[in-house]
């Protein structure tokens, strides 16, 4: 946000009160920095039509009918994780596990906080127990266990929940037989989600099957929608792992395949038609094969794309300005990833772009024949200056110099005075310094007309010339 936001700094009020704050324009997006967590929702779900979302990191799995089955070779690990899901911290992974064999040497189930094949937690079924197992530097250790009697060929709903340093495992088997084991461990704070089957018997093949759906639920950002899947099985994370662009959190979308697409959005942000808006976002990408985009979709369907970022890029602030269609009543801001890789979004902002325009009813005024005897000469409605702005505006006027005839003869600009038509005020002499003519509040699209009367006073002391005297007035509209 360095380029677009005012610094977060402290306000000293009356010399006694410090308030950390950032002064900025009104942001129409709620929870723009993803600092506030909202309700839990589905962040990833896979019905296992294929293994495109997965990465087998050890052993092997075979796919059939919405299930994957570990290879189960003697003394081997079969590990598969959801590709690019490494920033998950807290959340609940659910899946259905079917042990095809039950033995003390076989432990299989849900994997959370997977760092690599030597470091992860496993919520698993084994003979006569439900366990929470930690593999740290390649060494497995059961850190929580509870009695349970899984049967070969039966289905068990496994739920692995990671919350801070608490790793909890729950199994619900045939007839509702339920067991829970909870461990407290701080070895891994984040990591991928997946499945694992560890067979430590070197002489026998022991397999475990995992059935769809494999679902990860976790807290999403407040005010933002949950993950909407456009294609494939992408995922979403309210991310606290890598440094954010600002603050502590950001939103990350990830995909395991180039054909995947998904988004999160904030819909129905009230907006006015025919108005200029500025959309800003910080985007970071990691090996994005397609594009990471921020879209502003107007209620009528017109879409503005803020950026289309691919490859690997550091946090970069993007900003664009667009004018809404006349019939637009709201805007949806959508964060979208197409393809594989990870796209991170932070510091969204949608704000009305301050704009101002000025229309003068005429290009000049001609006083015609004047003489000192008949002076002063009034010119009612000499000009009507219409200022249009979507914020508070100011109209000022200043002269460029004295009246001059082009031959070196001049008389003072101050001979010409102005007042707002109908005000009944006395005429104010023009000067070469800007004078405030009018100020006003936002008035798009109609604008505000400021009709001005002029009065020209010539005296006997003023020079005469055969050439016309002229001067120029500049009207300036601003948004101060």
């Amino acid at each position: 946000m360095r380029l677009t936001a005012v610094a977060a700094c402290a306000l000293l009020v009356g010399g006694c009160l410090l308030l950390p704050a950032a002064a900025r324009a009104t942001n129409l997006i709620a929870n723009p920095g993803f600092e506030t967590a909202g309700a839990s929702g589905t962040m990833f779900s896979d019905t296992l039509p294929d293994m495109a979302a997965w990465q087998v990191t050890s052993g092997n799995y075979t796919l059939a009918g919405g299930s994957i089955t570990s290879q189960g070779s003697g003394s081997s690990d079969d590990l598969a994780v959801v590709r690019n899901s490494q920033d998950y911290q807290d959340g609940t992974l659910t899946l259905t596990a079917v042990p095809l064999a039950v033995a003390p040497q076989l432990t299989g189930g849900a994997v959370v906080r997977y760092q690599d094949a030597n470091d992860f937690y496993l919520c698993g079924l084994t003979k006569n127990a439900l366990v929470v197992q930690r593999r740290l530097a390649g060494n497995d250790q059961t850190i929580a266990s509870t009695s349970y009697s899984p049967a070969a060929g039966s289905s068990y709903a496994l739920t692995a929940t990671a919350t801070g340093t608490s790793i909890s495992c729950k199994a619900v088997g045939p007839g509702g037989a339920t067991a829970t084991a909870t461990a407290t461990d701080g070895s891994f704070a984040s990591g991928m989600i997946g499945v694992g089957a560890i067979n430590s018997n070197p002489s026998q093949t022991r397999q475990m099957r995992f059935s769809q759906p494999v679902t990860m639920t976790a807290a999403g950002p407040e005010s933002w929608s949950g993950l909407t899947v456009a294609a494939g099985r992408p995922g979403m994370i309210l991310d606290h792992v890598a440094p954010a662009n600002s603050g502590a959190s950001y939103l990350q979308l990830f995909g395991g395949s180039g054909t995947f697409a998904g988004y999160s959005q904030q819909a129905s942000i009230a907006a006015a038609g025919g108005s200029s808006y500025t959309l800003t976002a910080a985007i970071r990408t990691d090996a994005v094969s397609g594009s990471a985009r921020v879209l502003a979709i107007e209620s009528g369907g017109t879409t503005t794309t803020l950026a289309s970022v691919s490859g690997t890029t550091a946090w970069t602030v993007y900003s664009t300005t667009f004018v809404t269609q006349p019939g637009t009543t709201s805007v949806t801001v959508r964060l979208r990833l197409d393809g594989s890789g990870r796209a991170s979004f932070d510091d969204l902002a949608l704000a009305i772009t301050p704009s101002v325009s000025l229309a003068l009813s005429v290009g000049s005024v001609d006083f015609g024949s004047v003489d000192p005897l008949s002076s002063p000469f009034a010119q009612a409605l000499a000009v009507n200056a219409t200022t249009t702005s979507n914020t508070n505006w100011a109209l000022s006027v200043q002269g460029t110099g004295n009246f001059a005839d082009g031959t070196g003869k001049t008389f003072p600009l101050g001979r010409l005075g102005w007042r707002v038509n109908g005000s009944g005020a006395s005429f104010t002499p023009f000067t070469t310094t800007a004078q405030s003519v009018a100020t006003g509040a936002a008035n798009t699209p109609a604008g505000t007309g400021t009709p001005l009367d002029f009065q020209l006073q010539v005296t006997y002391a003023d020079p005469s010339s055969s050439q016309p005297f002229q001067t120029t007035l500049t009207y300036v509209a601003t948004t101060p």
Binding site: S355, G363, S364, Q379, L381, S396, S436, T472
Partner: protein, 344 residues
């Protein structure tokens, strides 16, 4: 006398050139606009910053527009005062360049100008400003006074240390006065709705809180929301109203008078005006509430003077009647409503 005649003739010749009567030019109106009209950024020494500005020609004719940099300051009454670039100590103009200095913009189209700012390594920490002015080049040589419309984009850049420190946001706000005003009789006279205007003149004053917002820090801030809550402890008419504050940018070392007006305030009231000036979503400058009293003196005058006249007239009439009944023949003329008792 001969000299005077000569002066008069020459003056008439001079100012009548091209036209024999005072008139506004009939050239098509010029309408130009700029977006964004306000640029705000935080930069660090050594940083390169670029942004695009759109200049719109909303008129039906092409225009040529000069584009140039100026320094600017803003007066307390929100007048933007321009000065030559680089003349203010806080000017960012010396670091800035424009991609062009003239734009030819066809009717109802827009053109883009790129502003580049290269913050020097030696730039002082604090807010630096510059204005990008777009001034119509179109001229009309047959008028005495030629108009050139212009719009400007005002930039405020906070230069901070690379670690984000250095900028201090500090300010205060004070309610200088709460004024009660009524429209004038001339406004009633000139109004299209005389009855409505007369009612306003009689019963509906405007109560205005004049709040001075001062930036005593070294970085700008925006008034992004807030306003004045007018409340009453006693009122004949509306009981209160919240009036939104204008969304001004307050530059360092500047004071801005922000006026919040409650139109259609009660005819007779006593109350207070409490103002909050928010510089972000949740933080505001505290302002001590100020009290006000609405007394419709002119209404008292309008009702009271005829009443006094009526009472006075009745008193005089009664006295005259008493005198007439006591003094008989001293009446100058007989009243048609009473008998002198002298007839016959």
């Amino acid at each position: 006398m001969r000299r005077l005649t000569t002066v008069l003739i020459l003056a008439a010749m001079a100012l009548a050139a091209g036209s024999s009567s005072a008139a506004a030019s009939s050239r098509p109106p010029i309408s130009i606009g700029v977006a964004p009209s306000k640029l705000q950024a935080n930069l660090v020494p050594g940083q390169h910053y670029t942004t695009d500005l759109d200049l719109y020609n909303k008129g039906a004719s092409p225009v040529a527009v000069d584009v140039y940099l100026q320094d600017y300051s803003i007066s307390s009454d929100s007048a933007v005062v321009f000065s030559q670039p680089g003349t203010l100590a806080t000017s960012a103009a010396p670091w800035s360049t424009l991609s062009t200095d003239v734009l030819h913009v066809p009717a109802r189209t827009r053109r883009e100008v790129r502003l580049s700012v290269d913050v020097p390594q030696t730039a002082a920490i604090g807010t630096h400003t510059l204005a990008v002015v777009f001034r119509s080049r179109q001229t009309n040589t047959d008028g005495t006074v030629e108009y050139r419309p212009a719009v400007a984009s005002l930039m405020a850049a906070g230069v901070q240390n690379p670690d984000g420190s250095g900028l201090v946001l500090r300010g205060r706000a004070v309610t200088r006065s709460v004024d009660v005003s009524w429209i004038g009789l001339s406004d009633v006279w000139h109004a299209s709705d005389h009855t409505g205007a007369l009612m306003d003149w009689l019963f509906h004053p405007t109560v205005t809180a004049n709040v001075e917002v001062q930036n005593t820090g070294n970085t700008f801030f925006n008034i992004i929301k807030g306003g004045t809550a007018f409340t009453t402890s006693f009122a004949i008419g509306d009981r209160g109203q919240l009036v939104t504050a204008p969304s001004y940018t307050i530059l360092p070392d500047s004071v801005r008078t922000v006026r919040m007006s409650w139109t259609g305030a009660p005819t007779l009231a006593r109350g207070s005006a409490a103002t909050r000036i928010y510089y972000n979503d949740t933080s505001y400058l505290p302002v001590q509430p100020a009290s006000y009293t609405v007394i419709p003196w002119h209404l008292f005058t309008v009702v009271g003077v005829p009443l006094v006249l009526l009472v006075g007239w009745r008193v005089v009439r009664r006295r005259r009647r008493h005198r007439g009944s006591r003094g008989g023949g001293r009446s100058a003329a007989p009243s048609p409503w009473m008998s002198t008792g002298a007839g016959g």
